[in-house]
Structure formats: structure tokens, C-alpha cells
């Protein structure tokens, strides 16, 4: 799973830079609903609490693996949608 998240290009990107909670979590949840199993969503955010708390919480509740990549001031939060 980790390799897939690392290597595979994201199928969709959600740019919520400048936004605070609950927006990243709500928008990511909305995007994920429209995606298919096996696809990866990359959430771009500079909101640390979203990376520390809300997006991991979203993934844990849905049972989706995720990975966080630091890119300068930004975080790339990758979520793999699984069935």
C-alpha cells in the first residue's frame, strides 16, 4: 500500500491551501465519494492541524491508507481509496 501511495501518480488533486478545518476534511470526503477504488487523491494543504488530526481521522474512519509528503511549506496528503 505504501509503495502504491509513493509511486503511483494521484488520480485527482484537491487544493485547499489557505483553508482551515473543517474545509479540508469536508472537501476531501466529498472528492473521495466520487472516486473509484484503487484511485489516489492528493490533498494539498498548508494547514498543519488538517495533517495532524482531521485528514488522518477521515482516513481512519473510512479505512483508507494514507501517506504524508512534505513539500516546502505544503503538505501532500495522499489517500488511497480502497473498497
Amino acid at each position: 500500500m505504501e509503495d502504491v501511495l509513493k509511486i503511483k501518480e494521484p488520480d485527482d488533486t484537491l487544493d485547499v491551501v489557505g483553508e482551515s478545518c473543517p474545509v479540508p476534511e469536508m472537501m476531501a470526503s466529498k472528492k473521495l465519494k466520487k472516486m473509484k477504488s484503487g484511485q489516489i487523491l492528493e490533498v494539498l494543504t498548508d494547514h498543519q492541524p488538517a495533517v495532524d488530526v482531521t485528514l488522518p481521522s477521515l482516513c481512519k474512519n473510512l479505512g483508507y491508507p494514507y501517506m504524508i509528503l512534505k513539500d516546502g511549506d505544503l503538505f501532500r496528503f495522499r489517500i488511497l481509496k480502497v473498497s
Binding site: 501511495l5 473543517p22 476534511e25 498548508d46 498543519q48 495532524d52 481512519k60 474512519n61 494514507y66 504524508i68
Partner: protein, 413 residues
């Protein structure tokens, strides 16, 4: 039976300078801890509907329960007179339910409740500046368009109680008494279900997380398995070391505070205000919404527009120099200090400009909603649990409804 007193008398002999200092300190703690703990009432509620996670909502119930327990025990044991607990119970009515619904909807759309709006605005989030400005405009809209009608229904008792105070005090409602025993028993009737439900919600959510796949989170702590009691195992030893490291990281502002740690500190902060403000008519935590609304009045003053003299609601509002205003200002100072010192402060502008419009409109609804409900999620809902009233329950219900609607609307935008 004698009617309960509605006269406040100073309980402690602090000077006004000390009162202002203590309220300022309380506001600073509130801003600091909320920023470090990313404490957001709205987020706690949206996650129920977006992810079915009850973890942060459980923390909110814990916050209310611990606050009620603390203030109730102080009152039951005679440290603070009962009149201080019920004096500022507002009139309950249709407007609390409708207002909290509008507030919940607006805040969830805009991206912050009254607490998170202020601490995030102080941390550089432009979205929340816009929301704050929208709230000021919303307060004015409320004052001219809604308040005259609402005020009439309150005076006439149309779907409204015509007085607050002990009339809405749960010990009085349940036992027709404000005696120590009545307060003591009611405290546990209110606090225990909230605390137990909060703990259960958190346990249930974490239990579900434990069963789920989880994720790969390089550099971030994962969910810890619970160790068995008895002889310390290497895993437990490392947990102890990790705890020490966590504490060190939190003190050095390298790591945010956990939700429950923030919950306990915030509850203690509210109890602290209740204690030190006893007898001074404002022994409740920040009234962020009315202070926020009143700032609009002060902005217009240099232009020769005096809402104070000719506009309903504004001519009833409080003067600018009072401990609660200082508390709001110090909340912002605390939040700014925490974000700046932790390196988190940054001017952040949403890339999607549509969000700024939504922030403004959501802010307007926040302003209208909180004024209709006679307070926000802090000054009315959280505070009212500490006052052993029932307005907090009404607000909670309405706010949950508004947040639910906002989540559904966001899904379609």
C-alpha cells in the same frame, strides 16, 4: 417558599485591576490552548456527518460535563453563591433553536465557530478575517431586521420564557430549590451523562480506528495499542519515554496539544473565570459574538455613525471597556503568540476565491444566528452547561442541525 435571590454581591475582595488581569489571563489561556489544540466546535460536529467520527464531539461533551461538574461543585459547597450560577441564564425560546441552527450552518460554511474564527484570524487565516467582518455586518442586519420582532416575542412570552435567572436553573426546575443539596444532585445529573457519553464516543471511535487499516504516516505518531497492566514490557517503557518526549515537544511548541488535554485545560479555564468573577455579573467565559458585533459599532463611530444612539440592540449593548472585551482581545493575543512562537503564523489566503465569498456570507449568518440565540457556542452553549441551565442543550441541538445542513450543501457546491 421564598423566591431565590437575583442580587449579586462581591464574593472575593479583588480590585478591578486584579479582575481585569485575571480575565485577561483567562482569555490568553483560551486563545493559546485553542490554537495549540486546534479546538473547533464546528469541526467536532462536521466530522460526525463527514466521517462518522465521534472523537472530537466526545471531547466537546467532556468539556461541557467537566465544566458543569466544576462550577456545580463550587456552588454546592458554598464557595460561589448559587445566584452567581443562575444570574445570567438567558430567556429560553424559539430564537435559541433557530439562531443556533443558522449559526451552525453559517459557521460550517465559513470555516469556523466563534472560538476558532478568532484564534485562526489571529494565526493569519484571511478566510476567518472575512468571516469576522461578515459577522459584524450580520449583527447589524439582525439589529435592524430581526431584533425588534424577537424582542416583542420575548416580552410577550410567545414561544419564549419571559425571564431567565433561576427560572431556567435546573436545580430550581427539578427540586424547586437552590439549596446546596439541590445543586449538588443536579450537578451530577447534568455532568455525569455528558462525561460518560463523551468517553464512550471517544472509545467507540478509537476502537473503530483500531480495527481499520489505518495509514502510513511517516513522521507522525500512529494509534497506540493499549498495554496490559503488570510488569512493564519494553513496549510500555518506550511508551513512557514517548510520553516524556511528547510533553517536551508540546512545551517547546513542536507538537500540538491533544484534544483531551486541551479539553481539560479549557474546562479549568472556564471554572477559573466562574470562580474569580463571582459577584461581578460576568462570571462566564468570553462573549465573543457580542464583542465581535460591537466592533462594527466602533468602526463606524469615526465616520459619525453612532449605532449606539439610534439602532436597536446596539443601544442596549455593553460598554467597550469591560473584562469580557479584554478577554476577547487577550484571546487573540494568546492565539497569535502561540501561532507565532510555534512557527505556524502565516498569512493564508484560499486559492479558490469563491471561498472568500462563502466566508463572508457564512460570517453574516454567524452574526445573525448568534444574536438571535443570545450568544455563541462559547458564551451561550458552553457557558450554559456551567450555569446548570438548559439553553445549552437547545443550542447544541440547533447547531448540530445547522452543521448537518451545511455538510450536505458543501457536498453539492
Amino acid at each position: 417558599m421564598a423566591t431565590p435571590s437575583m442580587i449579586l454581591q462581591p464574593v472575593f475582595s479583588e480590585t478591578w485591576a486584579v479582575i481585569f488581569g485575571l480575565f485577561g489571563l483567562s482569555g490568553f489561556i483560551l486563545g493559546w490552548v485553542a490554537q495549540r489544540g486546534n479546538y473547533c466546535f464546528i469541526n467536532a460536529m462536521t466530522s460526525i456527518f463527514t466521517t462518522k467520527s465521534l472523537e472530537r464531539f466526545g471531547a466537546l461533551l467532556l468539556l461541557f460535563g467537566l465544566t458543569a461538574l466544576g462550577t456545580g461543585i463550587l456552588t454546592a459547597f458554598g464557595v460561589v453563591p448559587a445566584v452567581d450560577q443562575y444570574f445570567y441564564n438567558y430567556f429560553a425560546g424559539w430564537y435559541i433553536l433557530v439562531g443556533s441552527f443558522i449559526f451552525g450552518f453559517g459557521a460550517a460554511m465559513a470555516g469556523g465557530c466563534n472560538l476558532s474564527m478568532l484564534y485562526r484570524a489571529s494565526s493569519g487565516y484571511v478566510q476567518n478575517w472575512i468571516e469576522l467582518f461578515g459577522m459584524m455586518i450580520g449583527t447589524y442586519v439582525f439589529a435592524v431586521a430581526i431584533w425588534p420582532f424577537q424582542s416583542y416575542t420575548m416580552q410577550a412570552g410567545i414561544l419564549s420564557t419571559t425571564s431567565g435567572g433561576y427560572v431556567e436553573y435546573l436545580p430550581y426546575l427539578l427540586f424547586h430549590s437552590t439549596s446546596s443539596l439541590a445543586v449538588y444532585v443536579t450537578t451530577f445529573i447534568v455532568a455525569l451523562p455528558l462525561i460518560l457519553l463523551g468517553v464512550y464516543f471517544q472509545w467507540r471511535t478509537r476502537n473503530r480506528w483500531g480495527k481499520s487499516l489505518g495509514g502510513s504516516t511517516p513522521g507522525l505518531p500512529g494509534i497506540r495499542a493499549l498495554g496490559s497492566p503488570g510488569i512493564p514490557t519494553p513496549a510500555e517503557t518506550s511508551s513512557g519515554l514517548r510520553l516524556k518526549q511528547d510533553v517536551k515537544d508540546m512545551l517547546l511548541l513542536r507538537k500540538p496539544y491533544g484534544t483531551n488535554l486541551s479539553t481539560v485545560i479549557l474546562a479549568l479555564d472556564m471554572i477559573f473565570v466562574f470562580l474569580v468573577g463571582a459577584g461581578y455579573t460576568f462570571n462566564y467565559l468570553v462573549i465573543t459574538s457580542s464583542d465581535g458585533g460591537r466592533f462594527f459599532e466602533y468602526i463606524l463611530m469615526p465616520l459619525g455613525i453612532n449605532l449606539f444612539t439610534n439602532t436597536p440592540w446596539f443601544n442596549d449593548s455593553l460598554p467597550i471597556v469591560d473584562p469580557s472585551t479584554l478577554m476577547v482581545v487577550m484571546l487573540c493575543v494568546g492565539a497569535f503568540s502561540a501561532s507565532y512562537l510555534s512557527g505556524d503564523f502565516k498569512i493564508r489566503i484560499p486559492k479558490d476565491k469563491k471561498r472568500l465569498v462563502i466566508g463572508f456570507l457564512g460570517g453574516m449568518l454567524v452574526g445573525i444566528g448568534v444574536r438571535m440565540a443570545l450568544g455563541c457556542n462559547v458564551g451561550l452553549m458552553w457557558t450554559n452547561f456551567g450555569q446548570l441551565g438548559y439553553d445549552g442543550y437547545i443550542f447544541l441541538l440547533g447547531m448540530l442541525g445547522g452543521v448537518y445542513l451545511a455538510v450536505k450543501v458543501q457536498e453539492r457546491l
